[in-house]
Symmetry: C2
Subunit: 339 residues, 2 copies
Amino acid sequence: MSKKITIDNIAAAMGVSKTTVSRTISGKGRISAKTRDRILSYIAENNYNPHALAKGLANSKTYNIAIVIPEEYNLVELPFFQKSLMGILEITEDADYDILLVMVKPNDITQLIKVITNNKVDGVILARTYQKDMAAEYLLEQKIPFVSMGSSNNELIAQVDNDHQTACYELTSLLLSQDIKRLALIGGDESHVVTENRYRGYVRAHQTNIIPLDQDIIYLNALYPAYIQRICDDLLKSRIDGIICMDDSICTILLSYLKSKKILIPEDIKIASFYHSAILDHNIPSITSIKFDEAELGRAACCKLLDILNESAKTPMEKPVGQLRYEIIIRESTTKTSS
Amino acid sequence: MSKKITIDNIAAAMGVSKTTVSRTISGKGRISAKTRDRILSYIAENNYNPHALAKGLANSKTYNIAIVIPEEYNLVELPFFQKSLMGILEITEDADYDILLVMVKPNDITQLIKVITNNKVDGVILARTYQKDMAAEYLLEQKIPFVSMGSSNNELIAQVDNDHQTACYELTSLLLSQDIKRLALIGGDESHVVTENRYRGYVRAHQTNIIPLDQDIIYLNALYPAYIQRICDDLLKSRIDGIICMDDSICTILLSYLKSKKILIPEDIKIASFYHSAILDHNIPSITSIKFDEAELGRAACCKLLDILNESAKTPMEKPVGQLRYEIIIRESTTKTSS
DNA sequence: TTGCACTGCGCAAGCGGTTGTTCTTATTTG
DNA sequence: CAAATAAGAACAACCGCTTGCGCAGTGCAA
């Protein structure tokens, strides 16, 4: 094909006006079956694709959505995000949207602002929310459609997330039922809703199973290796028989520290974690953990956003975002008793 | 601010024509200092941002570039890509471009085609090239500006990459000079240029150091854990004193296998690898490896693309893409002799 | 036969910018 | 001092597509 083929070309070739071509494509006006078919087949043959910019300019839509990511991801978050992203792409691909990647820094959302003020996107997906999220505030204020992938404390924000409380409840219950009565908990940033919800699940499981809760073996804000090691030292003095890590990165550090202390897993202490991340794939022993369906999270977030985008227009999408799934994967770290 | 502010608004408010406003912004026409300043300050105050779609439509530029990624990345590739991406973003951010993320599957580049035919991007960065790369072929054929991040065998393709041959040469030489004479090599896909180049560096280092090359301790195409373990068994029979893994994911598997065999690192065998990936951060012992400057790779790729994009227009960019850096990080796996 | 509703399609005005050309002044220059 | 020249700004077309409105033609009930 030599030149770019435009709607005018087609109109000329078909001996009709561009209006007719446009209407045929969008299916909006009244077009006779005959001309419609003629035009459609011509389009198919000549492989016409409307110019996205022109189209966008005409109806004030860009057909892009921004995905806002933080500057840094650790080895657990990154694959998690990547899989969610694939979920998002699944949806955008057949909704004919594209993804614009926007990076924000802790106190700097200039890139996001730029993308918004330049009208480069129709909506936004926040891939990670901070407790006090400038991005979310900005978007709320500007009335830009967006959804947050993962929990946030702000109920004004459209969000999708797994049920972390139930997940942790089930995991905890499972371990408690396996006669692991003194079960420690190590979690990350206390102000994160996720941390809070998992903590609640842990507590609730103790109540349900009528096992006393010992606040001395619950540690939150375990954000740095050094602190995790200190926690570990403390715990070793407390005669515990199990530990739930809220996060595989905590778990990794914990494991290597325990190994250096010659503590055996699961003989001395049982270990369970969250995310079932590949970072622990080759660990010996294999680690019991909760695996989320990351792609589904992405799909759900994206569907929700598309809903919002279309709702202002007309038909609410019918895609029912089901309950987000997770799975408790039981491995050696909580089961094997002899090797 | 209530309504979207457009160039017409500004023109009206300033009592000039939109031409004048446009010209003051682009700095192209002749505008008196007085009106220019008036307009510019008005723009600054009212925080005007030109509508990207309209601008793009007018001058046939989208101001976004596509980044093509594969469906899957492993735990070594993913962080590598992420850092390269950050490098790319550094450049695009102040060149006022945005990034469109496009995923391709092994034999399916429909998303890329869509993005191109819809005129959604000005250029493309291929984040991973396959030996027989449909994406590259397509782009070449369509004469779309693009660069490949990482080597490819096709010299028609604009590409940026580290000097893997020299890197491996230096690493090998270093180890050989430390009296590790029987040094095995385990690499990935033989058809990859990267693998080939590293292999060459390994060979060259042996020649330079006048150490006989033993093909029996060189293994390529080590793509699956099971095969890596077999290689490992073989090597253990060959009385080697060191192994270079071309890739941290190979290394990870190797290490866990060696551990299960009670082989001590570095006492029994020295180990070195590539990428210095976080996946090995907590490994004991720490692993000697080559660390590339991933962000710089991204920056270089992006600059090169922008060069191509502008070159057809006018001024060649002056950003000199220096030699891509890498660093040999020496850790316990090749040094510690007693603990 | 006239009136009316409906079908099928085109006109032309946008969407928000850019740019070649023209027009009007101001400034040089012989 | 007239004429040539340059400076500053405006006109209007265009980028490719959408859409409100209007107009001709057909079918049918009154």
